[in-house]
């Protein structure tokens, strides 16, 4: 089980959170100008990263804030959590083993 560092509440157990998928996907400024392909790309297309991944989490049973987490999708190592609008923490250099 993961221990996730809520930027407000600190380390809490995974069961208090909800997963929100890939982070930093900007909504198009003017959706009406997009064709179906570009709109579908925004709505549905996500990276399938093997390695460090920026993703959104919601502290649904705690303070009910959305925030971002950098997590390794293979090892589950969590590098850091940061509030919406903040810069992501520096990624560690991939060590031997997990990349």
């Amino acid at each position: 089980m993961l221990n996730i560092d809520c930027p407000w509440c600190g380390k809490r157990h995974e069961t208090e959170f909800r997963y929100g998928g890939e982070a930093h996907i900007a909504r198009p400024e003017d959706p009406a100008m997009l064709d179906d392909t570009d709109w579908a790309a925004f709505l549905f297309m996500r990276k399938n990263t093997k390695g460090y991944f920026a993703e959104r989490w919601l502290h649904s049973h705690g303070c009910r804030r959305w925030f971002n987490v950098i997590r390794h999708t293979v090892t589950h190592e969590i590098v850091g959590a940061y509030k919406m609008g903040e810069k992501p923490p520096k990624l560690p250099k991939p060590a031997g083993g997990a990349k």
Binding site: W8, C9, R12, T15, E16, H61, G62, C63, R64, R65
Partner: protein
């Protein structure tokens, strides 16, 4: 009908048989307050209305003369006092007129269990994944977490006493859970 004729929660059906150390408290005034922390006029007005400096440190409780405030999120607090919520709601509304706030009487939302005695934190530790060990959770702390998989607010009100705020509709289940969790420790000596 008297407005505050005590609400009967589902837990009332089993509360009579609770072991020593567990009780369901009579209803309290509970007001949910939301506002913008960065606006000093907000903090000042709340202080005027309640005498409380709202806690800005997450998961802390600030206590005033008649009320206390539990931190719930960066822009949200739960104010608690004795009796009915009307007077508190009106005082807040008057003090905060024109500000971007939300003031809601949520007294009927959650019932409050009091867990007391030397095994209170043991009961919580086996009911939750949150760490209720005294080295991390102490009087003046509150936490929103899961108790027996139900959403709850837990506040430590004394060295050996906790208040557990549970949605009324979950109260019979959580009450029964707490009663059973406490039972193994037997009656306090």
């Amino acid at each position: 009908m008297a407005k505050n004729s005590p609400w009967i929660t589902p837990a009332a059906a089993i509360a009579r048989d609770f072991p020593a150390g567990l009780t369901e408290l009579s209803p309290r005034a509970q007001v949910n307050l939301r506002g913008i922390l960065d606006e000093s006029s907000f903090m000042t007005a709340v202080k005027t209305a309640t005498g409380i400096d709202l806690p800005i440190t997450p998961n802390k409780v600030a206590t005033g003369k008649d009320h206390k405030a539990l931190w719930l999120s960066p822009d949200e607090w739960l104010l608690i006092g004795e009796g009915e919520a009307d007077a508190l709601v009106h005082r807040l509304e008057n003090a905060l007129t024109g500000q971007h706030v939300a003031i809601n009487d949520v007294s009927a939302n959650r019932t409050i269990f009091e867990l007391s005695g030397p095994h209170g934190h043991h009961v919580l530790m086996k009911s939750s994944e949150f760490d209720f060990h005294p080295r991390v959770f102490a009087p003046g702390d509150c936490v929103q977490t899961l108790i027996a998989k139900s959403q709850a607010i837990v506040e430590q009100v004394g060295e050996d006493a906790f208040h557990i705020y549970v949605r009324s509709s979950f109260s019979r289940y959580v009450g029964a859970w707490l009663a059973e969790a406490l039972a193994e420790y037997g009656a306090p000596a």
